[in-house]
């Protein structure tokens, strides 16, 4: 495939960022917004075209004779050569997951661009301060995210990984006058930075032993006769493992070095994807404008961790313990986030915890995937869920954004009963809720069902666990739904307009995303995205009993939610009173933030930084000053020598001469 279009996919958002960033303040708001949308629209078209070509052209560089999908290096340019082998290249790797991600990112990003045209202005149509900057950052983010998914080597991924982190930082802190936004952005950056430290060390370990950064050399084998075309290969991954095993120290602290590397790399993923215990930044990140939450903190950036594991999946397969680590981190996070989501009152936070929980689903799915079981169904399910989740979660967030824009608050206690006022928002939000709850035929049903199927294939414990979480998901989403749109009639405050649906720029994305959420479940994902490129019909692995159970669980959960929240009633209060401890802990998110606060402030700041700063000023610098002080003291101490008395002068003179002679005499003796 010609490299021009793929380069443009990256270049247009970058160019938009530069143009809007440098010249934005000289432009009118409208022009800036239009430019941003146009740019993203073009990127969208190009990305769709590229993905379409990849999946459907049947070109030999994309699919082989047996129907296996291949990895194609569209281009790969040296960027920084550390050594002859360790070279960072910037390139474009087209394979099933990156093509799929291109579609997801550009779609959501375009929707958000469009949506923000409406969202980022007030009811009088006045654009927000920094509107141009907002579009510049959005473009920067899109560029970074696209660069991340098409990375040809792990270091390129790391580079863009950092860039998405930075653009996320900038966007969370968009309202920089608000202290909470500033601290949220700081928190997000630092927590993910900490995770990236693990990622970096993992990369260093991996690259040291394997001598390469390239995914194609780590996980796939070249296809003969075609330059730059590769096929996922277990034997390459096995070769990598044997490199580790034949090294001088294959085991470090009880685990193989490869496991360490993979777990450390996964740590990066945990940070970006907000897995326990590095999840604390994501709820706070909701301080950013809602479209940003939809794009970055629901649909794209936060799934980068999942994408990372998927990218290195063949390597993870070599170390089952690493995969199990992934599974359990995911499972714990899923449950934790679901419980917390049940108790939050800020709608964006509920959605944020829901996101954490759903990403954890994807992680679990990857963790339980085994090639020998349903042909690695979990991998496909994970990617499928990533896709559908992106759509319906973006939908939910944008819906929430519409609500917030209309009400001017994040708090659902100020909403209630909005269904009559905002019908479009209501219906699309409902579709999103049904999708995430896993009701047939909405997209979430299919993807979640496959995840549960693959869990069952791996371990019953995980299956039961995740089913429970799925039930909780349905419960808290419908709790949210009812509390926003039902519960009691909406009171319109005097002097305020009644809330109403938003302009087309905001409604259109909702409708489009709702439509996708409705039908996306029917995409035969197994045909497109599988762990090794061999396509299969996932219906062959579809387990109706699992589907029935999960549907049952979801329906029951929705029913409970309906009973509790459809109409104003004391039941929720009773529930809360029934388990005060659990409620309190869940409401305070199990005090993770307080724990981190304690670690950072009490231990790191007060326990390390301050003592070090004190030590530096008083001990180290004090020592240096002490040299000066000692010299001065010595100077003062020998002052009496120069007493002004000639007789003493002579006395010293004589003493000196005699000592000189005497000591030399003694030495000579």
């Amino acid at each position: 495939m010609d490299a021009t279009l793929p380069i443009l996919i990256l270049a247009i958002p970058l160019g938009m960022f530069l143009v809007l960033g440098l010249a934005g303040c000289k432009m009118s708001h409208k022009l800036a917004g239009t430019l941003g949308c146009l740019g993203m629209g073009t990127t969208l078209v190009l990305a769709y075209y590229t993905a379409f070509t990849y999946f459907f052209s049947g070109s030999p560089e994309f699919v082989d004779a047996a129907g296996n999908r291949l990895q194609a290096l569209i281009f790969n340019q040296t960027w920084l050569a550390f050594t002859d082998n360790l070279v960072i290249r910037l390139g474009f790797l087209l394979d099933p997951i990156s093509a799929m991600m291109l579609v997801v990112i550009t779609t959501i990003s375009f929707m958000v661009h469009l949506y923000s045209m409406g969202y980022m202005r007030d009811h009088h149509g006045v654009y927000e301060h920094g509107f141009q900057r907002f579009y510049a950052f959005l473009s920067l983010f899109s560029f970074s995210m696209l660069g991340l998914v098409v990375a040809t080597n792990i270091f390129q991924m790391y580079i863009f990984w950092e860039l998405v982190g930075a653009s996320s930082y900038l966007l969370i802190g968009f309202y920089y006058v608000k202290p909470s936004a500033v601290s949220a952005s700081k928190k997000a950056f630092i927590v993910t930075r900490f995770a990236d430290l693990g990622f970096l060390i993992g990369i260093l370990i991996l690259s040291y032993y394997t001598g390469t950064f390239n995914f194609t050399e780590l996980t796939s084998a070249p296809v003969e006769g075609l330059a730059g075309v590769f096929q996922i290969s277990e034997s390459t991954a096995a070769g990598v493992k044997s490199v580790f095993e034949s090294s001088a120290t294959p085991v470090f602290m009880g685990a193989s070095v490869l496991t360490w590397a993979l777990v450390l790399i996964f740590m990066g993923g945990m940070g970006k994807s907000a897995m326990l215990p590095l999840h604390i930044w994501l709820p706070d990140a909701m301080e950013g404008p809602t479209p940003v939450s939809a794009l970055i903190h629901a649909a794209t950036m936060v799934v980068a961790g999942v994408y990372l594991v998927a990218r290195l999946f063949p390597l993870y397969l070599m170390e089952v313990s690493a995969l199990e680590f992934v599974t359990w981190v995911g499972a714990l996070t899923a449950l934790y986030a679901a419980i917390v989501a049940c108790t939050q009152i800020d709608i964006k936070r509920v959605l944020a915890f829901s996101t954490i929980s759903q990403i954890a689903f994807m992680m679990v799915s990857l963790g339980v995937a085994r090639p020998e079981m349903h042909e690695g169904l979990g991998y496909m399910a994970s990617m499928f869920h990533l896709f559908t989740h992106a759509m319906f979660k973006a939908l939910l967030f944008l819906g929430a954004g519409a609500l917030i824009h209309a009400i001017g608050s994040n708090d659902y206690t100020e909403m209630h009963g909005l269904r009559k006022y905002m019908p479009i928002t209501h219906w699309t939000f409902l579709i999103g809720c049904l999708a995430i709850a896993g009701i047939i035929p909405f997209s979430g049903f299919f993807s979640k069902d496959e995840i549960l199927s693959s869990c069952l294939g791996n371990s019953t414990v995980i299956y039961v666990w995740m089913s429970l979480v799925a039930g909780l998901t349905a419960f808290y989403m419908f709790r949210l739904y009812y509390l926003i749109f039902w519960w009691k009639e909406h009171k319109v405050h005097e002097g305020h307009h009644a809330p109403h649906d938003q302009p087309w720029t905001m409604s259109l994305p909702l409708i489009i995303l709702a439509a996708i959420s409705l039908v996306a479940g029917f995409i035969p994902f197994g045909k497109f995205v599988t762990w090794n490129g061999k396509s299969y019909d996932f219906m062959a692995h579809f387990d109706w009993s699992v589907a029935a159970v999960s549907l049952f669980v979801a329906v029951v959960a929705i029913a409970i939610a309906t009973v509790m929240y459809r109409k104003e009633n004391p039941l929720p209060e009773k529930m809360r009173a029934a388990m005060p401890g659990l409620w309190k802990w869940a409401h305070h998110r199990f005090y993770w933030d307080e724990l981190y606060m304690f670690i950072t402030h009490r231990i790191i700041f007060d326990g390390i930084c301050r003592p070090i700063a004190w030590f530096d000023r008083h001990i180290i610098d004090g020592t240096m000053d002490a040299f000066a002080t000692i010299t001065n003291k010595a100077s003062r101490a020998i002052k009496p020598l120069q007493s002004g008395q000639v007789q003493l002068y002579v006395w010293w003179y004589l003493l000196g001469a005699l000592a000189l002679g005497g000591i030399t005499m003694l030495c000579l003796l």
Binding site: K639, Q642, S643, G644, Q645, V646, Q647, V650, W651, L654
Partner: protein, 103 residues
């Protein structure tokens, strides 16, 4: 009784030490000058004795003594002049009061 070199050298040394002692203990500058004279003369004795007893071939030591005496005289004259000057200015020749310049 034969007079040995050591019998002259020891008194010279004692003289020198007396001079030093005088220099360090006396307060009157004139007394100090006298002490200095003692020291210089001790040196002269040394030279003379060494020449006479150890190296009688040449007269270097004797000549040195002569010159040393002359130099000592010059020194004393100069010192006296300076002391007189000081006396005019300070009305005092106590060496321990010379302590304006110190530290």
């Amino acid at each position: 009784m034969e007079i040995k070199a050591i019998m002259l050298l020891v008194p010279a040394l004692i003289m020198f030490c007396c001079g030093v002692y005088g220099f360090i203990t006396r307060r009157n500058m004139i007394a100090i000058l006298i002490s200095l004279e003692l020291m210089l003369n001790a040196v002269d004795i040394n030279f003379a004795v060494f020449n006479r007893y150890l190296w009688p071939d040449a007269m270097e030591g004797m000549f040195f003594t002569l010159f040393a005496i002359a130099i000592a005289a010059a020194e004393t004259a100069l010192a006296i002049a300076i002391i007189i000057n000081l006396y005019r200015s300070a009305k005092n020749i106590d060496v321990r009061d010379l302590n304006k310049l110190k530290y």
